[in-house]
């Protein structure tokens, strides 16, 4: 039942696919292959493996494995750093004054430009790629956390002060929960950004992964393969986001309740 309802919500997707197929077939442009061709290539490249491995081919494991590892380690690392720093900055206007220009500065620096410098600084490939992901992904988490920690309802803070909650308790029991909706919004933005940064890191400093594959197919003028990579990224992003929403729904049940329109 639930599955059917979930699928029902996807009704627009087949519609778009059909439209895409019609338009690309009519246009006959080699760079815009019809989705049927793209899906066929994707199947061949990644999903024609043995059932024992969930149909994944060697190519899929080689492309997806390292990419996913980078994505998750990068995102988790960023989440920890971003939330910790964000809460600290959000709770201390003074600290915020000191670092704010640096944050706004860093936010406007294109991450691809920094890849070479991370490489120069960190020497090894993997830390440099992680640094790239962290650097590119941290901003929405940081800004949202700062904002969330700074805009706790004043009466909530006063209540905490009155009852003499310790700093740690105030943090864990009041500031963090009340900033949580915004933190989650940031984490969610960051998840798809992490996917993007993973590709950038692989393109500018990679030797494997989906980004590497994307670059290679582009250089070899293998357009259906290239579109396959793009579609794969989109699907991955969609799946990650859906999984994240499931978690968010559980953690933020109170928020939805408090904000439901009766």
């Amino acid at each position: 039942m639930k599955v059917i309802a979930a699928l029902g919500r996807l009704w627009l997707v087949p519609l778009v696919l059909v439209a895409w197929e019609v338009v690309t077939r009519a246009a006959e442009q080699p760079f815009f292959p019809p989705p049927s061709a793209v899906l066929a290539r994707m199947h061949e490249m990644w999903f024609s493996g043995p059932p024992s491995r969930l149909l994944l081919t060697d190519g899929a494991l080689a492309d997806l494995g390292p990419s996913m590892a980078r994505l998750f380690s990068g995102w988790l690392l960023t989440a920890v750093i971003g939330v910790a720093a964000g809460i600290a900055i959000g709770c201390s206007p003074r600290l915020s004054d000191y670092v704010n220009p640096l944050i706004q500065f860093g936010r406007a620096v294109p991450p691809p430009l920094l890849v070479p410098f991370f490489l120069a600084l960190l020497k090894l490939g993997t830390p440099a790629q992680l640094a790239t992901i962290v650097f590119g992904v941290i901003w929405p988490i940081l800004l949202n956390t700062i904002d969330g920690a700074r805009t706790v309802d004043r009466q909530h803070l006063e209540t905490a002060r009155i009852f003499g909650l310790s700093a740690a308790q105030r943090l864990w029991r009041v500031v963090l929960p009340s900033a949580l909706p915004k933190i989650f919004a940031g984490l969610r933005l960051a998840l798809s950004l992490a996917l993007i940064l993973m590709v950038i890191a692989e393109i500018f400093a990679g030797t494997d992964g989906i980004g590497y594959r994307l670059l290679y197919t582009q250089r070899s003028y293998l357009y259906p393969d290239m579109w396959g990579c793009i579609v794969l990224l989109g699907v991955l992003g969609y799946l990650l986001n859906s999984a994240f929403l499931l978690v968010e729904r559980r953690v933020l049940a109170w928020h939805r309740g408090a904000r439901q329109t009766t």
């Binding site: 309802d153 009466q155 909530h156 006063e158 209540t159 002060r161 009155i162 009852f163 003499g164 909650l165 310790s166 308790q169 029991r173 009041v174 929960p177 009340s178 949580l180 109170w254 928020h255 309740g257 408090a258």
Partner: protein, 263 residues
Amino acid sequence: MLKITDLVHSYGPHRVLGGVSLSVAEGELVSVVGPSGCGKSTLLRSVAGLIRPSGGRITLGGRTVERTPDDLAIVFQDYSRSLFPWMSAANNVALPLRRKGMDRKQRREAAMAALDQVGLADAGNKYPWEMSGGMQQRVSIARALAYRPSLLLMDEPFGSVDAQTREDLEDLVLNVCAHHGMTILLITHDIDESVYVGDRVVVLTKSPTVVAADLVIDLGRTRDQIATRQLDAFVRLRAEVGRLIRGGGTGHTTESTSVLEKK
């Protein structure tokens, strides 16, 4: 125990408190009445160290209040915004008890007991937004009472509950105050209530606010909803407070100030 001297506060150019002086002895329950917008909540916030008054002094147990004093609880007027929407009622009540060194189970038990006292025995698992206004207000009272502070500040704590519950809560507060020797400052708009629960009633003028009168309520320490309210002394005092509020009478100020000065 609590001594307020010449308290002055302005929001921007707007002077709200014009020199309020008041002292409260240990274990006393003082009712505060005064017109809407005269600065009662402002006074309470100053005592709690939540705002820095523009002038005057507040001492608690001899020490000047600079930041929020230890061992103090408030029931805010805007109770619905002082409950944490991400916690159930029981957790809202239990949260401050962490400071009392209770373990999880003790906290839970104390919270349930306090909720029971305010008539919410079976609402412990509800979230604030699942409760009616009066229930939220009672959770907020339960939280303050469970904490057993030495100074309890209540800002119109019974405004949203029905008459019956209101009486029960009044008696509850009197009881807890007597048993645990709390000092209480209670703001109310109900003249009957101010007399019924108070050891003293402080009447404020409109802003810039000063103390218009400070009446001692000599009805003894044990009160009864029916018996006490039928006493002649009660009726007389009630009328007196009513007259003081209505008249805002300067005539009475001198008389009542003398009451203050006698202390």
